[in-house]
């Protein structure tokens, strides 16, 4: 069964058709890369999946029911920038999802519960290789470390679907290769579904189990929106374990 079903979705801004009658089923546990030229509407599609934007026509179903009208913890997200909170240390950033979940009123844990949560947060930091940076603020980290932190933070909320909006575009090639390996490992361990928007085609193929190409057939014609021009199965989940 598909986790996410995009059904006949149109997105129209004023007179400009962005997405035209889009249909897409995303299976549970898959890693879908969406590529396309800038301005083709791939980020618009991702925003709709996180309920930041809503389609003009059509519907998007999550487990068979329409997507809620606001972001929820089932759908985690990592943006290209501004994904972590600048006023919290690395450890506190990772601690935050647990605090929000267990302390409804203050959103902050104290005493032994905080101590235990901190242990979990440190384990997660270990996992993404940031334990040594636990007491730094995000602005003191490199771009690659910030994105690793963003991944760790998103995973602490245990989302079923992780939405990545060009998360690695601002990184240099070496850092990017490292974080690709990490992303792949995290995806294999958590069994979650990932939808990643990128303009880097090799990245799309390296990580995805399926690559979707979104394109406007006539880029200069505002009446013709983007549609899926290619839908390429790359590999099934878990077949080539450890491959990057």
């Amino acid at each position: 069964m598909s986790t996410i079903e995009v059904k006949d979705v149109w997105q129209i801004y004023d007179d400009r058709v962005v997405l035209e009658k889009l249909n897409l089923n995303i299976e549970e546990g898959s890693f879908v890369s969406i590529v396309g030229p800038s301005g083709c509407g791939k980020t618009t599609l991702l925003r709709m999946l996180m309920s930041e934007e809503f389609c003009t026509r059509g519907s998007i179903l999550f487990d068979g029911t329409p997507l809620p009208g606001e972001p929820t913890p089932e759908r985690g997200v990592v943006f290209q920038r501004y994904s972590v909170f600048p006023h919290l240390t690395v450890l506190d950033n990772v601690l935050l999802p647990m605090e929000l979940k267990t302390s409804r009123f203050l959103g902050k844990l104290f005493g032994p519960r905080r101590y235990n949560a901190k242990e979990d947060a440190r384990a997660m930091l270990d996992h993404v290789g940031l334990r040594h940076a636990a007491d730094f603020y995000p602005t003191q980290l490199s771009g690659g470390m910030q994105q690793r932190l963003a991944l760790a933070q998103a995973l602490m909320a245990k989302p079923r679907v992780l939405l990545l909006d060009e998360p690695f575009s601002a990184l240099d090639p070496g850092t990017r290769a490292d974080i690709h390996v990490l992303t792949k490992r995290l995806w294999e361990e958590t069994k979650m579904t990932i939808v990643m928007v990128t303009h880097d085609i090799s990245e799309a193929f390296r990580l995805g189990t399926r690559v979707i190409v979104l394109e406007r057939p006539m880029p200069d014609d505002p009446a013709k929106g983007a549609r899926i021009t290619h839908d390429i199965p790359v590999r099934p989940r878990m077949k080539k374990k450890g491959a990057a």
Binding site: P73, R81, Y82, S83, F85, L88, P97, L100, R104, F105
Partner: protein, 272 residues
């Protein structure tokens, strides 16, 4: 080398910084000396010794009528009004600014009203305040609040609105409720910005304080300046003005230090 690429050294920079102060002092002393040479009873530009005598009288001699040290009582009364007024402004702007900045319904309800209200010239409604609240402390404190709060409220609303939208989306995907977002994401990031806003409000706050004291008060720095004006006591007025400037400057430095040490992440986040 081009002018915009030349930089003074460390000592040069320090010299440049104090040069205008020294120039002003020299200019004043020269003008004062010239006037006193022409007329030993000149009151317009008192000499240093005349001002020192006045400071000694105001600050270090008990007042014959009340037994107070006048400059101390003036300073304490003024600071109390200023701090109470600013504290109320900060409280108001904090609550309203964050609530209105975050909640679309409140934004639609209040933003036009606040924009209109902030156009009311505070000094123009000073008579209304004196009529309603009498000439006691309430009217003076209220004037400071009316003069500074609208700016601080508007400033904070804008700061909340200019937070990257991605941060609030992210917080929601981590399961935060509106209240939790306010408490853990918005408020902590707004506190250092509120200090910036407060620093910018210090100047206007002093203006309103001194205006209110000039019109109706029994003590205070503004009251004293306007009282001794009747006797052309420039030897008192000038040290008082310097003292007020120094106090305002110290406030500013203090707030900047608080910002730096209480919010160590802020400097880095601002430049990003």
């Amino acid at each position: 080398m081009r002018l915009i690429n030349r930089h003074p050294g460390k000592r040069g920079a320090r010299l440049l910084a104090i040069a205008p102060f020294i120039a002003l002092a020299v200019l004043y002393l020269a003008a004062s000396a010239v006037r006193h040479a022409a007329n030993p009873d000149d009151k317009l530009l008192p000499t240093l010794s005349q001002m020192a005598a006045a400071v000694n009288l105001m600050a270090f001699t008990q007042d014959m009528a009340t037994g107070d040290y006048l400059m101390l009582t003036d300073t304490l009364s003024s600071l109390q009004r200023l701090i109470v007024g600013l504290a109320i402004s900060v409280g108001i702007s904090f609550v309203i600014g964050i609530a209105v900045g975050m909640i679309p319904y409140l934004r639609k309800l209040f933003v036009p009203f606040i924009a209109a209200f902030s156009m009311v010239p505070p000094l123009a409604i000073l008579p209304i305040l004196f009529i309603i609240a009498g000439i006691g402390e309430t009217a003076k404190v209220t004037l400071i609040v009316i003069g500074t709060a609208p700016f601080m409220v508007r400033d904070l609303i804008m700061r909340v609105e200019e937070m990257p939208k991605a941060q609030l989306i992210k917080a929601q995907t981590l399961g935060a409720s509106s209240w939790q977002m306010a408490l853990r994401v918005v408020v902590p990031q707004m506190l250092p910005r509120l200090i910036d806003s407060l620093r910018l409000s210090l100047g206007p706050a002093w203006i309103y304080l001194i205006s209110a004291e000039a019109i109706a008060a029994q003590d205070g720095l503004g009251y004293r300046i306007f009282l001794v004006r009747r006797y052309f006591a420039m030897n008192i007025i000038i040290p008082y003005v310097i003292w007020i400037t120094l106090l305002a400057f110290l406030f500013d430095v203090l707030l900047r230090l608080v910002q730096r040490y209480a919010f160590p992440w802020f400097a880095g986040a601002k430049t990003q």
